[in-house]
Point group: C2
Chain length 141, copies 2
Amino acid sequence: MPDETRNIVRECLAMRVRMLNRMVTAIYDAALAQAGLKISQFTVLVAVTNLGECRPKDLAKALEMDESTLSRNVERMCARGWLRLKPDQDRRGHLIALTDRGAALIHKAMASWRRAQEEAQRQLGPEGVAAVKAAVRRMRG
Amino acid sequence: MPDETRNIVRECLAMRVRMLNRMVTAIYDAALAQAGLKISQFTVLVAVTNLGECRPKDLAKALEMDESTLSRNVERMCARGWLRLKPDQDRRGHLIALTDRGAALIHKAMASWRRAQEEAQRQLGPEGVAAVKAAVRRMRG
DNA sequence: CACGATTATTTGTATATGCAACAATCAGCC
DNA sequence: GGCTGATTGTTGCATATACAAATAATCGTG
């Protein structure tokens, strides 16, 4: 049995990707704490800015995130006044929009993001950075 | 503002790593559901097998995971009878040990893990796989 | 236009994640 | 032996994650 499991530790991609996720997330969360948010939330704010007013489904797709997860993240961010919901033609849903406070927060968090980004790049090295980008491109492509 | 945020989406490493994490985790969780566990739990079982009876701190370090997170994961897994706690010399803590049921579960889950591993490798491609491994090695190194 | 199928989103439930504060024990020193 | 600082681990709190089921509105077709 130990032979099998040792092999898993050497090979398992999920183990590695999840570890990488924890390490990288920690870097960004630590930096963004100064601005009072987490990378998960920053990511949503940025995505909404780029998409413009958008439907939950589109946002979830853009972030490759489960719709129910996003639903509750948006809920919390609305409660904080960073996002708000607007009625849509299709009355099954609504549009998610950035508020002024949300936009201000992105601006305020920019310096923290840049610091985290530099630190992550430093720790990963140029090859590591390229590697991560390539891996994601492959999987989504 | 959109200029800045578009740049973030293009560059942000956390966004990519987290996306990769969600995609890869989903592949393994879907496969392991057949055996009644998740990749997060499978990972702990395998790590305990390799370390042997171990203290929470060592296990957390091996998995690059917060001790409090691990504490509660172990708790759930004890409740299911996969792990159990044994007294240690150092009475502040205890040793985490695999039970027979835990060992049997690993065995039962092997085929599912292999299927997930193959699927993840297929989606990432050889370069993607190498990329992920290299990135982790760099960060932990 | 009515009705069943489809689509959009939220809720129920469970797990996972981590920071900060806490309790318990240990180790070293006097 | 008994204090004091360090180490080990758990708990309180908040957020994040996702599958399945429920809800609500739209669409397509007879």
